[in-house]
Amino acid sequence: MAKRKSLIKIKPRKYKVGDIVKVDFIVIHPMDTGMRKDKKTGKIIPAHYINDVQFFYNDKLVTKLVVWESVSTNPYFSINMKITGPGKIKVVYKDNLGEVNEKTKKVKPKKG
């Protein structure tokens, strides 16, 4: 199973409890549609795309995403989340060949 590079970013960087923040998730993935041809061999590259992304906040499902092949290479997803306290954000992503990966980021709200 290939290990994928992924990134979670919380914007803005400083936030308090009760704030609504942007959570960006980026993953390095080819997202092949199954419609493109290999230029050297002339064969169709089989479809390989992420089809399921789930955002968890303290192990509670916040957002579920069903993704199809027409999302760009190295997909980027951005959603909003309400910060209710310290904990972690976990993103679990699956692709159509059965690869399952996850990425976590700690949530540290500022006091005051």
């Binding site: 609504i20 997803f77 959603i79 309400k82």
Partner: protein, 156 residues
Amino acid sequence: MQRRGFLKGLAGACALTAVGVPSVTLAAKKKPKGPNEMPYKKALEVITHGKGAVDSPKVKLVVPEIAENGAVVPVKVTVDHPMEPGNYVQEIHILASKNSNARCADLFLTPENGKAYFATRIKLGGTQEVVAVAKLGDGSYVKAHKSVKVTIGGCG
């Protein structure tokens, strides 16, 4: 008369080649269909369970008017609707009207999101409309659409 006949024959031959050659190249170049092919109308029907969606100013869709590269088209959707338990934006769908699979991404939200917002980047095969459909708390569907001019397609 001989000349006229010759010209007629020539024109006929030209017409034949003009008709014949493109059809052959078209057949050879016919794009392979994706694994989940679904035209736009059917996708909209599946998403809204046959109810259909109404155009509404509540849904704000931000896409570039002209996309130089169809492989990376940024899309941003916000829905102007409260996110309280019991009455919140339940789903956001992004569709591209002329892609072989019109569905791009389906988002299932909960009140913990705080605000109905979604941004991503999609591929567009050519000049077409991008449509955002949102399901509100009362089960109704609203949508917004915008056309994007694509100079280089992103699927081939």
